[in-house]
């Protein structure tokens, strides 16, 4: 019985540690004056293009257990319509995944395993949406971080907080949390030129950590009809 209780205590301590590690505190937003907040809101729009675009990336995936792989992703997004069309293929050109995120919801046109598993397709498209489309939630706060970067905090449906941070060198980050402050995703945009990042790094922190590194191959505006 004593041994069981000792195990129980250790288990609780372990679980508490895991919980604390998975939780992060939200960044502290400083409020200087109204003009600064307005400026922050303006700067927080920088990561998000306002016309339809087609982007092609090489995607380097690093997964639990040291597994790695590289695929090519093509994404067409229309910020005004809130639509996304994504294709993921092997370097040799085999299409593994194709899906659209439209007003009617998610439509998967093609999903070779493991893309057909459970909510995998929905999670991929959610990551894509997070990268390319502005948060849809309520803007709850805006200001600056201690380092002078602009930050805007959105509360979205589904128990999610989205922080958009734009640094003074125009690179940017997006972080998402549950309302319990458990961190979900972190996106870093690097080598930004004309509002287009040369590199995007996405890290997922949910049940198992993973990271995706998107290296830009091409980016071009498209007409809404040309999608």
């Amino acid at each position: 019985m004593k041994a069981f209780m000792l195990f129980g205590h250790r288990f609780l301590i372990l679980m508490a540690t895991v919980f604390l590690i998975s939780c992060s505190s939200l960044s502290v937003i400083r409020h200087t004056d109204r003009a600064a907040a307005a400026d922050a809101i303006q700067r927080c729009r920088r990561p998000f293009l306002d016309i339809p675009y087609r982007v092609v990336h090489s995607i380097e995936a690093a997964l639990p257990g040291g597994k790695t792989g590289t695929v090519v992703g093509v994404t067409v997004f229309d910020p005004a319509a809130g639509t996304i069309h994504s294709v993921i293929m092997t370097i040799e050109g085999f299409v593994l995944f194709e899906a659209r995120y439209e007003k009617g919801g998610l439509r998967v046109d093609r999903a070779a395993p493991p893309f057909d598993r459970g909510h995998f397709a929905a999670h991929i498209m959610e990551d894509v949406r997070l990268i390319f489309l502005a948060p849809q939630g309520r803007l709850a706060d805006a200001g600056v971080l201690e380092n002078g970067s602009s930050i805007c905090r959105y509360y979205e449906n589904q128990d999610r907080i989205v922080d958009v941070v734009v640094h003074q060198d125009d690179t940017w980050e997006i972080e998402t949390y549950r309302t319990s402050h458990e961190r979900l995703r972190k996106i870093r945009a690097l080598s930004v030129q004309d509002k287009i990042p040369g590199i995007l790094e996405l890290t997922g922190f949910e049940s198992s950590n993973y990271s995706l590194r998107l290296k830009l191959i091409s980016a071009e505006p498209v007409s809404a009809q040309g999608q």
Partner: protein, 213 residues
């Protein structure tokens, strides 16, 4: 987001295509299977540049990749992309490895390649003898005489879900040289491989099939 656990069908497809693309070595200039088998026997190695055009409905212009290809009979292949993503696939003496340039330099990819390897090596062994008609995965038909066209159609449902047909165009004026391979997935979506500077039966260092270089 387990990209490396990519469908074994897709993995198999990638390697089957590598095998098909090694056909410059295997295909003679002939209009029947017997002659193709005869012509196949005389080609021992090949070296070529290739371009790969990926046509997708989502793209207004194709995504073009370029690289180099080497084959040494019976079953050594180096399939190297130089742009836009640097990647090397090596098949040599039963070993298969794939390396890709990433943020940490050129690294070997982990994933489901080994399973497909045995199938591919068995297929290469058959195809290198020009034995298209006995192929387990594709049924083959031949059209035309000078500059003939070989059309491969998947036999298995798993493969046909990914590829609807493969069209191999042979050179009209250079026996043993393949001009292009078109892999059709569905309407509007296909991959076109074209070969240039094709050299047959030249000496190729074994190192090319063992090391990324």
């Amino acid at each position: 987001m387990d990209f490396t656990m990519i469908d074994s069908r897709a993995t198999k497809c990638v390697f089957l295509i590598m095998m098909i693309l090694s056909c410059p070595v295997m295909l003679g200039w002939a209009d029947n299977w017997e002659d193709i088998q005869k012509e196949s026997a005389r080609i021992k190695s090949v070296s070529a540049h290739f371009s790969q055009e990926k046509h997708l409905q989502i793209l207004t212009k194709p995504l073009v990749s370029k690289g180099r290809f080497y084959f040494q009979a019976p079953d050594s292949i180096r399939w190297e992309y130089t742009s836009p993503v640097k990647s090397v696939l090596l098949m040599h003496k039963g070993n298969i490895k794939r390396y890709t340039m990433g943020s940490k330099g050129i690294v070997e990819e982990s994933g489901g390649t080994v399973e497909a390897m045995q199938i591919v090596l068995q297929e290469i062994s058959l195809w290198s003898k020009g034995q298209f008609t006995g192929n387990k995965h594709f049924s083959a038909t031949i059209k035309g005489t000078k500059g003939p066209q070989i059309i491969l159609t998947p036999k298995e449902k798993g493969l046909s879900a990914i590829i609807s047909r493969i069209v191999i165009n042979l050179s009209a004026d250079r026996p043993g040289v393949m001009k292009s391979v078109k892999i059709v997935e569905n309407e509007g979506n296909y991959t076109l491989f074209e070969f240039i500077d094709v050299q047959i039966n030249v000496n190729i260092s074994e190192t090319l099939f063992r090391e990324v270089g």
